[in-house]
């Protein structure tokens, strides 16, 4: 179990952030990911492994002023 955007989220076994994004059908070029409060550079997404209890935030651009 991890915390994804503030909510509990079930993950089966270890996976990378890139794999999580793929599972969520999210284009990694349009988001930023924070892993336990550290912002990940895009080229590290497939090298960063998510462990039980980790906190992940995925953000993108939305309409604003």
């Amino acid at each position: 179990m991890i915390k994804l955007n503030g909510d509990p989220y079930e993950v089966a076994g270890p996976l990378t952030v890139a794999e999580l994004l793929a599972r969520l059908d999210i284009d990694s070029r349009r988001v930023a990911v924070e892993h336990n409060l550290a912002i990940l550079k895009r080229d590290t997404l497939d090298r960063t492994t998510i462990a039980d209890g980790d906190e992940i935030e995925i953000v993108n651009f939305v309409g604003g002023g």
């Binding site: 994804l4 955007n5 503030g6 969520l24 059908d25 999210i26 284009d27 349009r30 988001v31 930023a32 990911v33 924070e34 912002i39 990940l40 550079k41 895009r42 935030e57 995925i58 953000v59 993108n60 651009f61 939305v62 309409g63 604003g64 002023g65």
Partner: protein, 256 residues
């Protein structure tokens, strides 16, 4: 060509527009087009995990528009810095419209936190455009902290009240050595023209266009108003006089 430059980047349009509150993406796209703006603001938020296919960026031609991520909704310097860093990672640009809000009802900025966040982000190499009070002293401090422009409010965000303190905007322009962009408070075209006549280098707005009954037409009105106001400012207006001063000659009147 009357261009203006922020942190080495030159723009020919002095109007900056937002992407919020539009009734549909199609209306937003057409309004952006009609506004002639080259820089548009976006917000940074958690992705909607239920509707991940929808993306604002599907509707924005990033080869045509320069994206300015904001830190709207942040109430502390830490939150704003965190949001700015995330925005940089999404958009791969180091520009940020820095907002640190101090009050929920008025959305007035928290000057102290804004200054603190500006210093941190400037140190990290950000081009910081802070949304600030219409206070010349705060604007000067932001400039000293390394802000690339200052963006004083004309009136509360989304209020449409127009420029409430024209004198302050004029003084801010006189003091500042960085571009001054009036951000927030514009309700209609004359407000935007007035901001430019006061000497502002640009105007940033969202609700005035997105919330208009005809957003696309209003976007064009704003484009023309910003241009008209700028030309009037450059042209040097006549002094205000108490009494009339005839435009037609007083000599040669028939029957005198």
């Amino acid at each position: 060509m009357d261009t203006f430059t922020i942190a080495g980047k030159t723009f020919s349009s002095r109007l900056i527009v937002g992407t919020g509150k539009y009734s549909s993406p199609a209306v937003m796209v057409q309004a952006h087009e009609a506004s002639g703006a080259e820089m548009i603001t976006v917000a940074v938020r958690r992705v909607n995990l239920d509707r991940t296919k929808e993306s604002l960026l599907d509707y924005i031609d990033t080869s045509k528009y320069f994206l300015l991520p904001n830190t709207a909704g942040c109430y502390t310097a830490d939150e704003a810095v965190r949001t700015a860093r995330l925005g940089r990672e999404v958009g791969l640009s180091n520009w940020v419209k820095l907002e640190v809000i101090g009050d929920e009802k008025t959305l007035f900025p928290d000057n102290e936190a804004l200054l603190e966040a500006t210093r941190v982000l400037v140190r990290e190499g950000f081009v910081v455009l802070p949304y600030t009070n219409d206070d010349p002293v705060v604007c000067r401090k932001l400039e000293e902290a390394g802000a690339a422009a200052v963006m004083p409010l004309g009136a509360p965000i989304g209020s449409g009240l127009g420029i409430q303190n024209t004198n302050n905007i004029r003084i801010i322009r006189e003091f500042a050595r960085v571009p001054v962009i009036v951000d927030a408070g514009v309700g209609t075209a004359s407000d935007a023209a007035l901001a430019m006549e006061l000497g502002a280098d640009g105007v940033l707005m969202n609700t005035a266009i997105a919330g208009a009954q005809e957003p696309i037409a209003m976007a064009e009105a704003m484009k023309l108003a910003v241009r008209a106001g700028r030309l009037a400012y450059l042209s040097g207006r006549i002094p205000r006089k108490m009494y009339a001063n005839a435009s037609s000659p007083v000599e040669g009147l028939v029957g005198r």
